[in-house]
Subunit: 205 residues, 2 copies
Amino acid sequence: MLDFSQTDSSELTARQRRHNQTRREILDAAWRLAEQTGIAGLSLREVAREVGMQAPSLYTYFDSKDALFDAMFAEGYRQLGEAVAEWTAQVGDLEPADALGTVIGLWIQFCQQSIARYQIMFTRAIPGWQPSEEAYAVSATEYQRMAAELEALGVSGPEDLDLYTAVASGLAAQQIANDPTGDRWVRLAPTAARMLLDDIARRRR
Amino acid sequence: MLDFSQTDSSELTARQRRHNQTRREILDAAWRLAEQTGIAGLSLREVAREVGMQAPSLYTYFDSKDALFDAMFAEGYRQLGEAVAEWTAQVGDLEPADALGTVIGLWIQFCQQSIARYQIMFTRAIPGWQPSEEAYAVSATEYQRMAAELEALGVSGPEDLDLYTAVASGLAAQQIANDPTGDRWVRLAPTAARMLLDDIARRRR
DNA sequence: GGCTGAAGTCTAACATTGTTCGGAAAACCA
DNA sequence: TGGTTTTCCGAACAATGTTAGACTTCAGCC
């Protein structure tokens, strides 16, 4: 039931439609608040106040706070999927090094766009929480899709992928921790791409 | 008052010595519990129970939970300083690439040794907390020391350092998140070192 | 030795959290 | 209209960090 927003609306009664709409409002309020307080600082009572409810009423729409996190997590990965699709289209006619550099830069900016989203997707910022199996499945799908795109850019095989992941996520983490609104590490994206591809070539020899 | 454990004991009254000793016990209990629950899951009441006290009694030794985190943070960086000193001694007669590879590997293992320490030092795992100025100063000192050592290994200038930091911390983050007790990313340390140094050489041309 | 004051410890309490329960209102369907 | 389901709320529970106030313990001084 994670992809409520994409459910075929012709099959829905007015009641179900209103239910999904309220769910949407709650999610939006949660994202808004999490952006200010950090994902771990999210408070259900504040979310409720934001949408004009009392806290227990939220339980009509989400089984628990963890379920709300689950929905946010899956939504983040769906957005990542869309972004990746855009990037690969936008990068199709570049040389591999330029293409990879662009993708890394865009990836860091995707992380910068929303700290809350970055925190829930890529860090363990929420004490005790981890995605449910359904939510995890969404993320795994997007990872596979991304891995396929990277293969086309010359990053192939598990070792290459592990190294690429470390570099890209490391750049993003440093960017967000030390220069959240700037581009100090974004600027290094082309260099990092060149570095990775050169090293892959070296190891192939 | 962060370096209580290193205060000259000849100047201390029996009472102060006992005070420091109890502080030490509390810190040890905190590390032990944080290792199980994650740093963000640390509960003062549990810490108190672990040392045979009631929660409010802890406030004789730490002004707040944040002050306890501060002490742990500074202690972590002091341990890092010791470790770095050992590494550089141990690596003195290797070639730069081997030396850097070893250092990166040891660095990742240092992070693996204690998840709680890793979380408080390098992630923002604690909602709302950040190190006090005194604690931050300790970390800044160690970073400068580390930067000096890296310079000797061929990583010089702010750009090199930024890229190195991203790669090393990225490797550690992936290791801890996806294979906390294994060596899937540790094994990549020599490759990463070689990759970094080759790229630095390329950019120097 | 006994007084003084600080240090250590406790219980009680407060505000805040996520969550559950039970009932009232509202919306829907017959 | 009557019956059922959904929605919403107030009260309450357990757990959290923290404070206030009282009691004990203990070192130092006349």
